[in-house]
Assembly symmetry: none
Homo-oligomer: 210 residues x 4
């Protein structure tokens, strides 16, 4: 027991590091990379400014670490695909509902805003976010659609483009509203409408008639 405690000490990334990233998240999300100050982050994380530099080499390094961690967390949450549905429509509606709800949540939109705002200074960070997020999501959806096509459920000439456009139908209206106009995240009912409308439009074009 004692030893399990000291074992944790042996992994120094654990407590303080997380605490700092948490403070950094609040500041960077609220103000963007440039406008957030290390002093503010230190205050928010309840550590001294010096401690920041014990765990991270620079403001840039702290920012990158924050984005990477956020990306890993949100990708995991977003991309769990439930294949176990009776039919394509239900599967897509279920998927779209989860997608819109999560992607429109204020904390996710703030992350996107922060990454976009920093993409001129951190092109690598933004590109990583793109690859692990939207690009990976579209690829996952394309994979599912390809599977359904093999099963004869849909017929889609250009699956990649179709997947991206499905994302666009789901994501764009709320993303752009929350991102730019600080509109409140859509409520459950609105999410349902968006999801169902998107799926209906999509399947009208691509579902095999039977």
């Amino acid at each position: 027991m004692m030893s399990s405690e000291s074992a944790r000490v042996a992994a120094p990334e654990s407590a303080k590091r997380a605490q700092i990233i948490e403070g950094a998240r609040r500041c960077f999300l609220a103000s963007g990379f440039e406008a957030a100050s290390m002093a503010e982050i230190a205050r928010e994380a309840k550590v001294s400014k010096g401690t920041l530099y014990v765990y991270f080499d620079s403001k840039e390094a702290l920012f990158s670490a924050l984005v990477e961690q956020s990306r890993r967390a949100s990708v995991e949450r977003l991309m769990d695909f439930d294949y176990e549905h009776a039919n394509v429509r239900d599967a897509l509606v279920h998927f779209a509902t989860g997608l819109i709800g999560k992607l429109s949540a204020p904390e996710h939109v703030a992350l996107v805003r922060m990454v976009i705002g920093a993409s001129e200074k951190f092109p690598g960070v933004a590109r990583d976010y793109f690859e692990a997020g939207p690009a990976h999501g579209a690829a996952r959806l394309a994979g599912y659609l390809r599977e359904q096509e093999r099963l004869g459920m849909v017929s889609i000439p250009d699956i990649e483009t179709a997947a991206w456009q499905f994302f666009g139908m789901c994501h764009h209206p709320t993303l752009i509203s929350v991102l730019l106009a600080a509109r409140p995240a859509p409520d459950g009912e609105r999410v349902r409408i968006l999801a169902e409308t998107a799926v209906t439009t999509f399947l009208a074009a691509y579902a095999t008639k039977r």
Copy 2:
């Protein structure tokens, strides 16, 4: 003589003012609000730092003026709708083609990135941009669709949502790629494919069979 002097003062859209905004555009677009410096802007605009403050009260004011002017310019260019098409499909394809091409142009994406990056500090500016840009565009499209519905060409239960989702299909894939991953703007062929696929999907769901 005296009066012609004061007349110039009275018209704040002088050549100098435009020249300053032009310098500000280059700097703000390239670096974002925080990272761009007034000294850099003065150099780029070939005026002294003091002159900046003759025409604008502060860095914030200069930024707002720049966004407002850019918004007016791009809204005008983007929203010219050509109603004179033989049929809905041709009209939408033509519209979507122009939309995707213009919205994916690097200078437009840079503007969006800048506005998004500054939206935490300038919520009003971002909201104005949203209202005059995406929201106005969706409203224009909705108006056109309503017209076509009255003509019996389409049947759309939720026109607002449909318009937004049409925008999403067109805009989202390239916007997000260029914004985050610095992908090059799509070439003409890719634009055509995106436009036609979007219109096909859209009309599969909403065109009246006849």
Copy 3:
């Protein structure tokens, strides 16, 4: 009158720059490069910290400018050789007297101390100082001795070495005392003794008997 005033303004290196270097001199000489702070220099020069950076790119640049100016000033003062003496002995005594007096002055020793202290970080600055100061001085003396040898007044097998060692006899005892032990600069009487003893020793070895 008015115009001569504005003419001075046209040369912006003039007043403020000199004022800053003067403040820098006081601080750098008193504390060395590392220990002197830009805030302290600004205070001493009675300008703001920002103004320092209007005239000099960095602390390093300010330091280099100071050393260069000091070097030019002291080299000029030190190396005026009076050839118009009745005989070699009088010429050397006169030269040595001036040399010891000036090189042992606290302000010169402080400069040497500062340059030596910074020579690890600024090897180029120290080397420049060496070339323009000691090395140039030894070369000047060697030139004079060569001239006297041609006139048959002295006979010196290795003139370069002899010149350096003459400098050593004159300079070393007081330099090292003032440099390390903060001994007061030698008074006129002591300077005279050092000069005459050095010259006597030197000429005992090199003067041609006649």
Copy 4:
């Protein structure tokens, strides 16, 4: 057992202490007092930063201890005078050769540079170095010369000054070159020339004719 433990504590010149001073030497000599950091010293000495403060109260104390130890070591090595020579000339040449060689060695010059660089902040340390080094050396040489005068080998009106100037002839040319211009230490042949020239000059003035 208990007592042997405390005995070790009572002797602060433990292995650790020496190890720390050795690390400090490398850092302080290479960078000077201000530029060397305690973290760097700890790393170089392979101990933790905390341990530094177990053995030394402060950075200043560590520096002083280092200089004191270095002084003791180099004084011992430098000042061993070999009286057992057939004549004054051989004795002085032998002495001068050893002196120049040792004083021009990079490690000694680095020590002198460090002490000079720190002499404004540590006047006591520099003065101690002066007294135990140059001043003590000149006194030793003066003692030897006094002895030789009593034996009738030389005749020197001002022995103290003569001793200092002999040091100057030997030491100054190489010291100043290596100190300021980072010239390489003189090779054996050059050392021999400097020594013999200095002795010849010296004895031309002071040796009794016989």
